[in-house]
Amino acid sequence: MPCAPTPHNHSGDPATDGSRCKCHRAVMQAYKGLIDDQPDSVARQVALRVYRHHHPEDCITVARLTVERWVNEGAPH
């Protein structure tokens, strides 16, 4: 079954999403709390788990893409 967007899917814009939901802050806090201590892949997995707690209605693909986008936007280049 394809992974259809749900009304709760985030646009990826933390500024607007943040006003609706605390998930962006929680996801990024978890990621940043681990990235100095753990491999990046582990920090991303944890961030994904936090996201799915807030949005169990999102399919795994949408959740993963959203978290990847947030983490990559927040990562220093």
């Binding site: 802050r25 990024m28 806090q29 978890a30 681990l34 753990q38 582990v42 788990r49 936090v50 707690h53």
Partner: protein, 134 residues
Amino acid sequence: MTDLERRCSEAGLKMTGQRKTILEVLGTAKDHPSVEDVYDRAKQLDDSISIATVYRTLSLLDELDLVIRHEFQEGYSRYELNWDHHHHLIDLDTGKVVEFQNDELEALKEKIALELGYELVDHRLELYGKKIKK
């Protein structure tokens, strides 16, 4: 300076190039290397290192409690870094990461591996929770 080098410096160990090489070998080891193993690996990074230097450095690290010396009844010691070992509990609501240590948990992991016929070499554990409202 790596976290490990910082810990060594804080413990009073002068960080020479050769000591950094030995720490690098220990820090990247996936096993519990013997003195000879450390020497062989360090030699590939810096061929000026002598086995006497490796012995002295491991002995110093042991005295400073920066390595754990294992005696596996082989007639010689094996070493691993004494990492600041801890686990994480993640608050699912806020994303807050809480570090914790638990000796009972450590012992239990060793026991489980042993009962399955293994020596525990590595593991990863994260706990996820929701804050209990009082």
